[in-house]
Symmetry: C2
Subunit: 260 residues, 2 copies
């Protein structure tokens, strides 16, 4: 991929994981609300690759998307308890603005950071905590209808709909990644749900790399490591994207230490 790849929300946690693993792999263009400090920029990315703006600003996102081959769209309000007003604007309208700009600029591929919260209401009282445990074989696989348990999750499910629409109308390859619990170093401690849906930084970077490299139409996949505790299937990501995760929360103790 010779043309630049635009990374919106570049300064957030997912953006950090992606750049940690893939700074050298692409010609990055970073977009975020605030400029990063020059010293925090990965080697090979300089200030001219940085665009500062709000994704809901059509002029700003339109400029940033010019002549890019792909977009990884992460920008939005990341708080699971974010109020409706914020996710309506930042996540729903912002995602529509990004896809519209991508369509206008003939971008080939958009990978969209959806969330486990898009399906949070499958975690009913009757299913939990069993579904978070290794011996339970309940699985969501991405073909199910969303069931958001909060407005943030609703906004992410709406973002998937936006992706579907722009794929169908413009032929953009769209991967919606329902990201689990992304933490650096080790899985969340004493939090079974987080261990079930852990995504390591290196698996995160690898998965988005696959979203940029693989050949597909419209996909909804789960973004988690290969955790023994998982209740999200990663088969679709393996089959279609070639995702090959290296990590598994079972390799760590509940205290976050690597097992012997």
């Amino acid at each position: 991929m010779d043309d630049p790849v635009l990374l919106t929300g570049a300064g957030g946690r997912v953006g950090t994981a992606i750049l940690d693993g893939l700074a050298d792999a692409y010609d990055w263009r970073l977009f975020d609300l605030e400029p990063p400090s020059p010293s925090s920029l990965p080697a090979g990315i300089d200030e001219s690759d940085v665009y500062v703006g709000d994704v809901t600003d059509r002029g700003a996102i339109g400029e940033a998307v010019e002549e890019v081959s792909a977009v990884i769209h992460l920008a939005g309000d990341p708080r699971p308890k974010a109020p409706w007003d914020s996710v309506l604007t930042n996540n729903i309208d912002g995602t529509h603005a990004v896809f519209e700009a991508a369509a206008t600029a003939d971008v080939e591929t958009v990978a969209f950071a959806s969330s486990n919260h898009a399906v949070g209401a499958y975690e009913t009282d009757a299913r939990t905590p069993d579904m978070y445990r290794t011996d339970d074989d309940y699985r969501l696989d991405g073909s199910e209808l969303p069931r958001p348990a909060n407005d943030y999750g609703l906004s992410k499910a709406a973002g998937e709909l936006i992706g579907r629409r722009f794929h169908d109308e413009y032929g953009i390859s769209v991967a919606c990644v329902r990201i689990g619990n992304l933490t650096q170093g080790h899985p969340p401690v004493e939090y079974e749900r987080g261990q079930a849906m852990w995504l390591s930084y290196r698996d995160c970077a690898h998965l988005f790399d696959r979203c940029l490299q693989a050949d597909y139409g419209f996909e909804v996949v789960y973004g988690i490591s290969d955790n023994d505790r998982k209740y999200y299937s990663i088969e679709r990501a393996r089959d279609v994207l070639g995702y090959d995760p290296q990590d598994n929360s079972a390799e760590y103790t509940f205290a976050g230490e690597p097992r012997e």
Copy 2:
């Protein structure tokens, strides 16, 4: 149902069909952007039952929903080609406001006017026009993921997500009715797609009556008459809601005349 039923968007086409058939059946409370002329009000509904406001106005919708037992939510921009800004505000934010008000007021049931446009992109070049014809057995049944072909359809699919969320969190019974082509008197003329998804006025009123009377949790159903040409299944509406349509576009000629 002794308490009032709130009908938002009461002055539109769907509201007119519902009131045509059910004016006497419920204690109606009408909500719309503009007041109806007093002479246009159905018998039994007087000016004190009329609330004028915008569904995105939380104060106005909160007042209208007080002490109602059920809501039929039709309000929104009904234009399939409506611009994104309008459907973002009127349809997505407006629907969220209505469900939030309904949850706050402990409303038991909300029937939401979704649309065939929520799944319009299933009508691919490869499937059409065959799918509109009697001898084709392609069927959508409401369990499929939405595939909107325009921003209006996207907003309706987002409204279904909102309904799902408020059902899961508050236990509201929510029926999302993907309304087909609602026309008075006879099916659309020389328009195969419209004949396939025709909904007569009396079947429309009957279907929303069933949404108010039946016992269910969260449902997505198709709102069409029992057309020979249909590509939307009405089995779920029959089974869960007790929908028993009386009309069929095949009983009319292509010119809109009843067949002998």
